[in-house]
């Protein structure tokens, strides 16, 4: 990194020349992006564009090359299970809830790395307040929840780790439109509390309406990067992702 290319504001997350390969196939090619403290940034693109691979690389779930920084640390040298300790939480694609554990157990798993019992209990109550549906079903096995409730649970579980940066992978996937709205309401509420969010989404319109800034990804490369407003107005985005 040279001095000139550093962004003016403090970048919480920064990737430079990120590459992800599956065998000989390149899923992510030489992309660079940054998420600043307090921002709500989205990464949109079609199926197979490399969005999830990018997110998985950030969460250190798959090997990648290129430099990634998170706060003052070299993210690319960290291990996935250490990230939550440093405030980086992932809500995986397809929600990844622990289906045979109860809702309450799922939530406490999110605080697995913490030892402050009293504080964990407080956070649990806070999340139950924010997501009352989960409270009603606290002792229910999580596999019996509806898709939307499971998504809420996955987000709630990530919040139990008190993240500074929340990575969300396709929170709208497989949900009814009404439920998608509700999930995004929760995402806005979380952002309003000061959690920085990096959101990967196929539902481009909703993502851009929610976020302040966006990146557009196409076959492994970032083709556009702008404010959400400009992207919503961009004819290329309108044609390719907003169905106009």
């Amino acid at each position: 990194m040279t001095e000139q290319s550093k962004p003016e504001r403090f970048a919480l997350l920064q990737a430079v020349n990120l590459d992800v390969h599956y065998g000989g196939i390149a899923a992510v090619r030489n992309i660079s992006f940054a998420v600043e403290l307090g921002e709500l940034v989205c990464l949109i693109g079609a199926n197979g564009a490399g969005k999830t691979s990018t997110l998985k690389a950030i969460a250190r779930m798959i090997p990648s090359s290129g430099e990634m920084r998170y706060r003052d640390m070299r993210l690319d040298q960290m291990q996935s299970h250490d990230l939550i300790r440093h405030g980086l939480a992932l809500v995986p694609e397809g929600r990844g809830i622990f289906a045979r554990l109860t809702v309450a157990e799922n939530l406490t798993m999110g605080a697995y790395h913490r030892n402050d019992k009293a504080e964990i209990e407080l956070d649990l109550q806070r999340i139950f307040e924010m997501l009352p549906r989960l409270k009603e079903r606290a002792v229910q096995v999580a596999g019996t929840l509806s898709g939307g409730e499971q998504q809420m649970l996955a987000i709630g579980r990530a919040l139990m780790g008190r993240p500074k940066l929340l990575l969300l992978d396709e929170p709208s996937m497989g949900l009814a439109p009404l439920m998608v709205e509700k999930v995004f309401e929760v995402i806005r509420a979380v952002a309003a509390e000061g959690v920085t969010i990096f959101l990967v989404e196929q539902n481009a319109r909703l993502a851009l309406q929610t976020c302040s800034r966006g990146y557009v990804m196409e076959s492994g490369e970032i083709t556009l990067a702008d404010t959400a407003e400009n992207l919503l107005a961009d004819p290329r985005v309108r044609a390719a992702y907003l169905g106009e």
Binding site: D82, R85, A89, P92, Y112, V139
Partner: protein, 348 residues
């Protein structure tokens, strides 16, 4: 705990203590059968850690039993002329088995489900074939002939071969083994129950449910999986050591794939992940065949005047039938792990 529960517990304890004495009057063979059943409960609880809690399908579990058994046999028999005391060998055997578990675990970390099952199956066979062939160029295992004249237990000068009379009650060798096994079994059950509720147990369950999410929750999945393999194997090693001491003889044919499948069946039939379910499954699959062995022949002779179906054949038939029925009607096992109930009980 209420007084009622205490009384129940005391009654169970008394029954367990009196069991070998009662069985001896029927026949010492039944004490031996009970001892073997306890060993299988031991194995099933060990495998339950790997399969039930951590969700790693292990089809070669009997290999760790073999490691424990051979370590005991080699260190306490005329084969090498070593006669170390059992309290030293049992932990060594457990340690060796635990290491074998980690050795199996390390290269299979990325595998799941069917693929893991195939590799573990191969591992079990490799161990057995090694035992079969390590008689050349140096005779380590004595090959298929096995190792004989293994020392029995000997605690404080009291050997476990002869009958001792205490308070006018004769305690036979197998009865004495029974008490040792009972103590070990209690320990294993306590460890299992503690594990289930511990941080480690929760980490295993999380890995079983969703590995990626477990990682995201800050669980070091690699170490936790290795720990599951090693811990499960350790139990197998202890059981193996006891097996050697009890039988006085080990050979590779005691550690065939069939045994691995038997132990796995106990776990699956009883209810994966639930200590009491696994215990019940192990007892069921240990005793029912023995019971058949003693009843099928006389009954057939009585009914048909001759033996039509070999008890061994019938045993496998019932086994298979029982498993199919379980899968059809109680897919989570006879006494499945009930997370929901657990939560409710804790809330009380």
């Amino acid at each position: 705990m209420s007084t009622k529960k205490w009384i129940g517990l005391v009654l169970v304890a008394l029954a367990l203590l009196a069991l070998p004495l009662v069985l001896t009057t029927v026949g010492t063979a039944w004490v031996r059968i009970t001892n073997l059943a306890i060993l299988f409960i031991f194995l099933a609880l060990g495998l339950n850690i790997v399969v039930g809690m951590a969700g790693l399908l292990d089809l070669g579990y009997i290999a760790f039993f073999a490691v424990g058994a051979y370590v005991y046999a080699l260190l306490s028999s005329p084969h090498f002329g070593l006669h170390l005391p059992f309290w030293l060998i049992l932990p060594i055997g457990a340690l060796c088995a635990g290491m074998a578990g980690a050795i199996l675990g390390a290269p299979t970390l990325r595998l799941r489900g069917d693929y893991l099952a195939i590799v573990t199956l191969g591992f079990g066979e490799i161990v057995r074939i090694f035992l079969n062939n390590l008689s050349q160029p140096f005779n380590i295992t004595n090959g298929p002939k096995g190792i004989t004249r293994i020392d029995g237990l000997n605690i404080a000068g009291m050997d476990f071969v002869n009958t001792h009379t205490l308070f006018g009650i004769p305690f036979t060798g197998p009865a004495k083994y029974y008490y040792v096994l009972l103590i070990l079994l209690l320990l294993v059950i306590v460890v299992n129950l503690r594990l289930q509720k511990s941080r480690i147990g929760r980490a295993w369950v999380a890995i079983r449910e969703d590995e990626l999410a477990a990682k995201a929750a800050g669980i070091n999945t690699r170490n936790m999986k290795l720990l599951a393999f090693a811990m499960g194997a350790t139990f197998g090693g202890i059981a193996g050591g006891m097996f050697s001491a009890m039988q006085g003889f080990v050979s590779p044919e005691s550690f065939i794939l069939h045994e691995s499948i038997l132990v796995l069946s106990m776990v699956v039939l009883g209810g994966m992940g639930n200590v009491w379910g696994v215990l019940a499954g192990a007892m069921l699959l240990s005793f029912v065949p023995e019971f058949l062995r003693y009843t099928v022949e006389p009954v057939q002779h009585m009914l048909f005047g001759q033996l039509l179906i070999d008890p061994e054949v019938l045993r496998m038939l019932i086994f298979g039938g029982a498993l199919v029925l379980t899968m059809r009607f109680r897919p989570a096992g006879l006494w499945p792990e009930s997370r929901h109930k657990l939560e409710m009980n804790e809330a009380k």
